[in-house]
């Protein structure tokens, strides 16, 4: 019945070593993620200029004190656009992952705890979604609905939740199969409390780690959709769209695509590493 196992979600730490040094590195990585989030949240205060309005001559090279990272093809401040783009990309990715986690989590918990026909029905539906090529369906969906951040996020969320449903279900089932759940049941713990107190806490670490690793993927996919003209329409600042729109200028004004491109890289890299960090901090899986 299952089509795809989801091993992507069980990747192991990449750079962090073992032991205490590993924990310290993990904290640093998580700290980086927090810093990036702060940067995104505070974009409007940190950005020197309006991200939408041209503020100077077009294609000013980076290095000038007024426009540290230069200006883009129509004279907007690249630094400001990148900061706001960070905000859009970061929160979009968070939204997609959060929706995936929420919907997938509810479906997964319902299937894992419900068992029987509930499980069968929910997992058949999930499998069907999983069997569809997600990226392609997202592309087709956005191509059909028309570009726009809302549609893009909608399209991506639709293809994103089944992974979480499967993952959460598998985790729930493995936790439910652990003796402590049976022991708690025998000890007279009610059903709701059983799920909330004895099952879910065991699922959260994996789900959180997976989600944080996934944010990088979402950021990249968003950027890819933008490249195809299916992302955030101009003039709103979005890293992927800015990189994509700027690629034309790679040869004449390299900083226009490279700065937001590097921001995508950093975002996705930090999300990836922080995922590993969180995994380290949450300790080995029991």
């Amino acid at each position: 019945m299952s089509t795809v196992v989801l091993p992507r979600r069980t990747a192991r730490p990449v750079i962090t070593g073992r032991g205490r040094t590993g924990r310290r590195a993990a904290w640093v990585l998580v700290g980086l993620l927090v810093a990036l989030t702060l940067l995104a949240v505070l974009a409007r205060f940190l950005a020197p200029d309006d991200p939408i309005q041209p503020v100077a001559a077009p294609q000013l090279p980076p290095g000038s004190p007024e426009h540290l990272l230069g200006t883009d093809s129509i004279g907007r401040d690249v630094l400001s656009r990148t900061l706001f783009g960070l905000q859009t990309s970061w929160f979009s990715a968070l939204a997609v992952v959060a929706v995936g986690l929420l919907v997938g989590g509810v479906v997964g918990v319902a299937a894992g705890v419900g068992g029987g026909w509930v499980d069968a029905v929910l997992m058949r539906v999930t499998d069907l979604f999983l069997a569809l090529p997600s990226t392609l369906v997202a592309i087709a969906l956005v191509a059909a609905l028309g570009p726009g951040l809302r549609n893009t996020l909608l399209g991506m969320s639709i293809v994103w939740w089944p992974y979480y449903a499967r993952l959460v279900r598998a985790e729930v089932r493995s936790v439910v199969a652990r003796p402590h759940v049976e022991a708690a049941r025998l000890a007279g713990v009610g059903r709701g409390r059983l799920v909330l107190r004895h099952v879910l806490p065991g699922v959260v670490p994996t789900a959180v780690v997976t989600a944080s690793l996934d944010i990088g993927n979402v950021v990249l996919l968003l950027a890819g959709l933008s490249f195809l003209g299916l992302g955030q329409p101009a003039p709103a600042a979005e890293l992927g769209a800015d990189t994509a729109a700027g690629t034309q200028l790679l040869l004449s004004a390299w900083w226009v695509p490279v700065v937001p491109g590097v921001a995508v890289l950093v975002l996705s890299l930090v999300a990836n590493l922080a995922g590993d960090g969180i995994r380290t901090l949450l300790g080995p899986r029991r």
């Binding site: 939408i52 309005q53 329409p233 101009a234 034309q248 004449s252």
Partner: protein, 505 residues
């Protein structure tokens, strides 16, 4: 596609020694290079070098002037209904059969049968008579002074070998065959077709005209502008015609290693206003908006040398003497006053086609200007398919739309007025039309009376739906050794006639 190379980028590249010219295309040519089907731009080079029409626009001129091609001379009767063409002698099709007047009717008939986008050009043909092999008399059912422009248009009817058409007719009027072959008389013939990848043209040795030193023309398809530019820098591509973004212009202009040409076209950058939107309900508002556009600096900043600010309502040189003057003066105060009457924070959207960087920049700059006036203006991109859907429900569209580059199929003022001002014309995105203007245009085309054209234009300008921003030019980028670029280009076709190109000694 990657011969040569190894030399330092920057230094002029050596001319090819194997007689191969490589012209890079940006993006798939889309439709098949069938003259009765092809209705796009980046593949025109194939159509125009393999087929020829009866007439063409004069090469190397920045005004509209009909020049001979397969017809050496022609006569038009007084009421523009009978056109008599005297055909060139000694012309053969690529299948070796001679070109005679019989082919004219065949070509017109096929165009009607195939029902392509430019089939309208032969709609009015009532009859084609062939008194002798080298004379064709075309009779129209109604007077049409634009008929010669139809024939000169790059999308106009081209002469096709009746024998070859019949031999490969299939069930679809030879359409399948012509997806990868040609049946024309042009200086080149299709030697190999890999749709989506590359096209190879071979010199037609039976060609009636001058022959270029290029025995083969390669047209590789690049799908990324930067990749194409790199290939050109590298010397793998000999010339790029109107494919690279203006933002790259700076790098090549005045370069001593590459040749950069800016050649005249009938294309313009335009603003279209959407009268169905609340914001632009009143003519006064629309005109205020157009007046708030700083045409000169906008064109200068965004398009640079690729264009000049337009001063007429039609394309440059369409109305001799420029009587169709565009009377819009930059005055943001009118808009400012209008803005004050609006509720605070009223928003409006300025659209542009996705991927069109020039339009994007213009839209953004204008949006910024409006914001300074206290209007919540935003620039937004729309995919092309959506843009052409607005005509069905203009309220779906933005409040105004910036077109970076657009124009008519041919050089007649009628063709211009029709596409831009008549709601059925195709580029009148928001259906802003004046029945009186349409009628005036119809009357003008019958006689070719410039005064009527001017009157129609002036009438339409009052709607405030339309602003001709600039006269655009084709940017042709070529290696230093390539000669004859200007001479191989005309105002109608945004492509080069490869037979007129050469290698510098």
């Amino acid at each position: 596609a990657c011969s040569g190379g190894g030399d330092d980028s920057g230094a002029p590249k050596a001319a090819p020694t194997d007689g191969t010219l490589t012209v890079g295309l940006l993006g798939d040519i889309g439709q098949p290079p069938d003259p009765d089907v092809y209705y796009a731009n980046n593949g025109l080079a194939i159509v125009l070098n393999t087929y020829e029409g009866l007439v063409q626009y004069a090469d190397d001129k920045d005004s509209v002037e009909i020049a001979p091609r397969l017809a050496t001379t022609w006569d038009v009767n007084a009421d523009n209904t009978v056109f008599t063409f005297h055909l060139r002698q000694g012309v053969t099709f690529h299948d070796g059969t001679p070109f005679t007047s019989a082919a004219v009717k065949v070509a017109f008939d096929r165009r009607t049968a195939v029902k392509g986008g430019a089939a309208y050009m032969v709609e009015g043909v009532k009859d084609v008579a062939t008194p002798d092999d080298l004379t064709a008399v075309v009779t129209l059912s109604a007077p049409n002074s634009a008929f010669l422009d139809y024939l000169a248009s790059p999308f106009g009817p081209k002469m096709e070998s009746p024998t070859a058409l019949a031999a490969n007719a299939g069930s679809d009027d030879t359409q399948t065959y012509l997806q990868t072959h040609d049946v024309g008389t042009g200086p080149y013939t299709i030697a190999a077709a890999q749709p989506g990848t590359s096209w190879t043209l071979k010199r037609y040795d039976g060609y009636w005209g001058d022959k270029s030193p290029f025995t083969t023309v390669q047209l590789p398809i690049y799908t990324d502008a930067s990749a194409l530019q790199l290939a050109f820098d590298h010397g793998d591509v000999s010339a790029v015609v109107a494919a690279l973004p203006s933002s790259s212009l700076k790098k090549y202009e005045g370069s001593k290693d590459y040749a950069s040409y800016l050649l005249p076209t009938l294309q313009s950058a335009l603003v279209t206003v959407n009268p169905t939107k609340e914001f632009f309900k009143s003519q006064q508002a629309r005109l205020a908006f157009l007046q708030s556009i700083d045409q000169k600096s906008l064109v200068d900043q965004v398009l640079g040398n690729r264009s000049e600010p337009a001063t007429t309502l039609y394309a440059k040189g369409m109305i001799p003497g420029g009587a169709d003057k565009q009377e819009l003066t930059y005055d943001p105060s009118v808009m400012e006053a209008y803005a004050k009457t609006l509720p605070a924070g009223t928003d409006m959207t300025i659209g542009f086609a996705s991927g069109n960087t020039n339009a994007e920049q213009m839209a953004n700059i204008q949006a910024a200007k409006l914001q300074a006036l206290g209007i919540k203006a935003t620039a937004a991109s729309y995919p092309t398919s959506q843009v052409f859907g607005w005509i069905n429900d203009p309220t779906q569209g933005p409040d105004a739309f910036f077109d970076g580059n657009n124009g008519p199929d041919g050089g007649s003022p009628y063709m211009w007025g029709h596409v831009f001002w008549d709601a059925s014309g195709g580029i009148n995105y928001f259906g802003c039309e004046v029945p009186e203007v349409n009628a005036q245009l119809d009357r003008a085309v019958a006689t070719g009376d410039d005064a009527l054209y001017v009157a129609a234009a002036e009438e339409y300008a009052k709607t405030g739906c339309y602003y001709n921003l600039s006269y655009n030019k084709d940017w042709v980028l070529a290696q230093k050794w390539l000669t004859g670029v200007e001479q191989s280009h005309n105002i109608g076709a945004n492509e080069l006639d490869f037979s007129k190109l050469g290698i510098a000694q």
